[in-house]
Amino acid sequence: MAAGLRLEKTSKHPTLQLAGETLVLDLCGGLWLPDHRTLIVSDLHLEKGSSYAVRSGQFLPPYDTRETLACLHEAVIRHDPARVVALGDSFHDARGPERMEPGDRAMVAALQDGRDWVWIAGNHDAAVSEGVGGRYADALTLGGLLLRHEPSPGAAPGEIAGHLHPCGKVAMRGRAVRRRCFVTDGSRLVMPAFGAYAGGLNVRDKAIEGLFPKGFNAHLLGDGRVFAIGRAQLARD
């Protein structure tokens, strides 16, 4: 078990301490910071479905944006945050905002109404055009936390990042369960992707394991609650 990691009692949305801040791991895949009244969601990948029509002529169901926004809406209703931070790759590509349906666009506006809304730049949407409200930033500091899209190499105490779409796999008795997850060693944290069509990278992949040389726990999004799984129980793909 990773050093400096404290396990709280199991709960639907468990709580962790990171850099002196309280983090609630929300079952929806978002991170709630009660002391800052801030909701963080990462890798929304809005308009991923429609990007396939442009790129390769595949007509995926064009409902991923509204599905993602509906989940976000549900979390916003529950927490009523003063601030929402979208931790990068909010759109699947830079032209995503142009392809958004008017109804979805209105939904974004409604979510932003009365809140500080921060789009952190990601690698997919570094050059996102204007017109989707909110403000833009490369990174954001909140108390002892640094919010940025790509995790920095080397030690990064207090960093909260996304980009890697971590997934944990548990294989037992001939069955494998693969779920999105938060990954943390008690010092830094990588968030799961929030978007309806976002894929996942196994936490045992070098890209993720390399960030946590002293080991880590994964917090998998189950059907009814979040589960804390140790590295030893996590299978490779």
Binding site: T10, S50, P61, R173, R179, G230
Partner: protein, 853 residues
């Protein structure tokens, strides 16, 4: 004239050869394609081309025969279009590509005859749907085309007869000689290729309007068949060839008790080995790849004489399979252990014994398998059924009875799949502009699509054009466009190219190669000299569940899983005599056929029949009658009993594993809602067992309707809907539809997979689509598949109807002989009804344990 094994082939081609020979004097203009032959197997097409060459050369006919398969080089394909052969041998997929070709109309304009081989096997799948649509197009491109189907005997020959001729045709003007359809079953002459003794080989030829003579085997003048009686669907003529000597088919009786459960038939291996020694060449058929691996290993353990015994199944490396087939054809092998991969195929010639290990599953399947042996008419085919357990003994007896009565149980005719139609619509837009009204008429002339509504057709066209979404997001990307002239055309060359890459209906489960790695443990390879070679492929799904160190049987060896690297499953040889730890990996599993299931129920219900069974099985049934009850032919027996700290409910519908798994899922939901706290269930072909924390019998004693309500038909309403939402089987079914219909790109073998975070998962697509457009075309297609495929919902529905008011519940204080059989499945099979959260909770508990220690 015909060599053994070529008689059947030649029969189909004789009219064409005659016509082509007669054509000789007047050919001044360039010849076009005259006859098309379609086979389900590439290898079969190649083999038949070889068999045709000989008589053509002997008779010195000016006839050019060529094959066109996935292996045909590009320059030859191009040349085949510009200078077509007289006879072309190909597969359904290649035919789909040909009719989507820009030159298709010209290419097929002179086509006179189509021969569809192994038609009985083709029509039961989506490939049959695709082929039927291609046939509809061919009938339009060359009116008067004669279609000949070659088939093993089937239960409903009329379905095949409809398949061959256009349906829904405007009534033809009365013509001379028109009459009612005539079936000439049994009048045909013997075919010296004779499928095998005791079998009937149907020759089905269309009522041809072309001046072709009948297949040479048939006596008498052609019988006209167009139109038929007013209102009756048009059908092709039927020619039945009587078989030769009756098959010598028996059950292998060891004279000692068989186990109650298990399918490996380990107790019979010495007897099977002895049979192999006594015969020239033996085909040992098994039902699953696991059984093939197991049987192969056991036979080699016994193989003191080092007889050449080989293994053949679909997961093995293709080159190895070709080597085995070549060795077999050359008469170098004494036995092959094989799965359904050899149900069809090249005639081996020298096989003199067929052994079927495990449950027969269906009477027609068994008859076709027996037919793989001995193609001589004067000798009976010899075959043994080898049951693996007592229930399989019943099933073997039921199969023997069915074969004795020549009762067929081939599946019902298919309803054409919508995903296949979507693929075809795009293909036809690639060939030429289409008028929707004409095209609709053409499609409903294909028997599987005869009942397609105009609305459904419009939806398919809309799906092909822009995805068929209520949210019109993709109008500007449309793949097919309707011009001002009202005709639909393909958008551009890129779309046509994408169609060609996607053609076909076989969606392989994603697989990974199994590569043998170098190992420092154990003895360096003694059986196989080189390490590092590819042994074959296993399903992604199976590989997913493996963890390093797991051992499993594959390619005749026990292998140790070392990890996944570069999309390959790396293995080493396990030390000798390691027992494989992982019991099973996905392989072909056929459900018990409906009619064989009914025969098994009848056998159990009728004590007078027990005399025909081996003694031990009669004693077993007697014991069941004493301890509980034996259900009547149409009854459903439900037993409840306590065992350990749990309460068990068993039921015996005899409807096959797939339907039982669906039943298990639905019953578990109901018991959950009723507060009985089910923990899991197990299913086999005959019944299911569910275990609960609370006592079901107690509840049933308080409420006499409880058990009846539990099995009420309304189970197939909301409960089914709720389950479909999350069923992995349903997601897999959806994925296949999505690939066939071109929603997502096909994964091509050898193509490198992109990283997991960039590929898009069909599971996610399924979830989103179900939520936002539950009536979407592809969800409809997936549901239609679920009715008969992995979920077998239709069969479950028929069973629930059958047993209403006929449920016999016995509350017992301990497990009955019948229930033991299904109880033994527990732990052997995966436990269903166990949610993802239970598994995660267990893994979490281990972490908590670690934190506390």
């Amino acid at each position: 004239m015909a060599p053994t094994g070529a008689g059947k082939t030649l029969a189909g081609f004789l009219p064409s050869l005659v016509a082509l020979a007669e054509r000789r004097p007047q050919t001044l203009k360039p010849k076009g394609l005259h006859t098309l032959y379609v086979s389900p197997l590439k290898a079969l097409a190649v083999d038949i081309a070889r068999n045709l060459d000989a008589p053509i050369a002997e008779m010195d006919l000016p006839v050019r025969v060529e094959t066109r398969t996935g292996d045909t080089p590009a320059h030859k394909r191009t040349r085949q279009i510009s200078r077509p052969p007289d006879i072309l041998l190909t597969t359904p997929e290649q035919l789909a590509l040909l009719i989507a070709h820009r030159e298709a109309a010209e290419f097929f304009s002179g086509l006179r005859c189509v021969v569809l081989d192994e038609l009985h096997a083709l029509v039961t799948s989506k490939r049959g749907d695709l082929l039927s649509l291609a046939m509809a197009r061919l009938h339009r491109l060359s009116p008067g085309l004669a279609a000949v189907g070659l088939s093993a005997t089937v239960r409903e020959p009329d379905e095949l007869r409809k398949y061959l001729v256009p349906q829904n045709q405007p009534l033809p003007p009365p013509s001379a000689g028109e009459g009612t359809l005539r079936s000439r079953g049994g009048e045909g002459q013997r075919d010296d290729s004779g499928e095998s003794a005791g079998l009937h080989t149907g020759r089905i030829s269309s009522g041809s309007r072309a001046p072709l003579s009948r297949p040479g085997l048939t006596a008498g003048p052609p019988s006209p068949a167009e139109g038929g009686e007013r209102g009756a669907p048009p059908m092709a003529d039927l020619v039945t060839v009587a078989g030769g000597a009756k098959a010598d088919l028996r059950m292998l009786d060891l004279g000692r008790a068989l186990p109650i459960s298990g399918h490996t038939a380990w107790h019979s291996m010495p007897a099977i080995y002895a049979l192999i020694k006594e015969h020239r060449t033996t085909l040992v058929f098994v039902n699953t790849r696991l059984q093939a691996e197991y049987t192969f290993r056991e036979l080699w353990r016994l193989n003191e004489d080092a007889l050449p015994i080989a293994i053949h199944h679909g997961s093995l490396d293709a080159q190895q399979r070709r080597r085995v087939e070549a060795a077999m054809a050359a008469g170098q092998l004494r036995a092959i252990v094989c799965t359904a991969t050899l149900d069809l195929g090249i005639d081996w010639g020298d096989v003199d014994l067929v052994v079927n290990v495990g449950a027969p599953k269906g009477a027609s399947r068994i008859m076709q398998r027996i037919g793989r042996a001995n193609h001589r008419m004067d000798e009976p085919s010899k075959a043994y059924l080898v049951p693996g357990n007592r229930f399989e003994m019943l099933e073997c007896q039921a199969a023997l009875n069915a074969v004795e009565e020549a009762a067929q149980d081939t599946p019902d005719a298919r309803l054409g799949a919508l995903d296949v139609l979507a693929q075809h619509v795009l293909g036809m837009a690639c060939a030429d502009a289409f008028d929707p009204l004409d095209f609709y008429d053409e499609i409903v002339s294909a028997a599987p699509y005869a009942d397609l509504t105009w609305e459904s057709f419009e939806q398919v066209v809309d799906y092909v054009a822009t995805g068929g979404y209520a949210l019109r997001a993709y109008e500007r990307f449309a793949k097919i466009l309707r011009g001002p002239d009202g005709l639909w055309r393909v958008r551009d060359a890129r779309t046509a190219q994408a169609y060609r890459m996607n053609v076909g209906t076989i969606v392989e489960a994603a697989r990974v190669r199994v590569r043998l790695g170098r190992t420092l443990r154990g003895k360096p390879g003694t059986v196989l000299p080189k390490s590092g070679r590819v042994l074959g492929e296993i399903e992604d799904e199976f590989a997913e569940t493996l963890t390093v160190g797991d051992t499993f049987l594959f390619a005749g060896e026990t292998l140790r899983f070392e990890g996944l690297a570069e999309d390959e499953c790396l293995v080493t040889r396990a030390p000798p005599d390691t027992d494989p730890a992982i019991p099973s990996y996905a392989g072909s599993k056929f459900p018990l056929s409906t009619s064989l299931a009914a025969r098994v129920r009848a056998l159990i219900a009728d004590p007078f029949e027990w005399d025909r069974l081996p003694e031990q099985i009669g004693a077993y049934l007697q014991q069941q009658r004493r301890r509980s009850v034996l259900p009547g032919e149409r009854d459903l027996l439900v037993e409840t009993f306590p065992r350990g700290k749990r309460h068990y409910l068993t039921a015996f519908p005899f409807e096959g594993r797939l339907a039982h798994q669906t039943l298990g899922m639905l019953l578990t939901r109901r018991l959950e809602r009723d507060g009985l706290r089910p923990l899991g269930f197990a299913a086999n072909d005959y019944g299911i067992a569910i275990w609960t924390t609370r006592d079901v019998a107690e509840r049933a004693a308080l409420d006499p309707d409880f058990i009846g309500d539990l099995f009420a038909v309304d189970m197939l309403g909301d409960d089914l809907e709720a389950w479909l939402d999350e069923s992995a089987m349903m997601k897999r079914t959806f994925r296949q539809c999505a690939v066939i219909a071109g929603l997502i790109e096909r994964h091509h073998p050898g193509q490198k997979k992109s990283g997991r975070q960039v590929t898009i998962s069909t599971d996610l697509i399924y979830d989103v689509l179900r939520k936002h457009q539950p009536d979407h075309l592809l969800l409809r297609a997936a549901r239609q598949d679920a009715a008969t495929g992995l979920l077998d919902v239709r069969r479950l529905g028929m069973m629930l109807e059958r047993i209403q008011g006929r449920i016999i519940h016995r509350s017992l204080d301990r497990v009955s002989p019948l229930s033991v059989s299904v109880m033994l499945e527990i732990g052997r099979e995966r436990v269903y009804g166990e949610g993802a959260d239970e598994i995660l909770a267990e893994a979490e508990a281990e972490l908590l344990q670690e934190a506390l220690s």
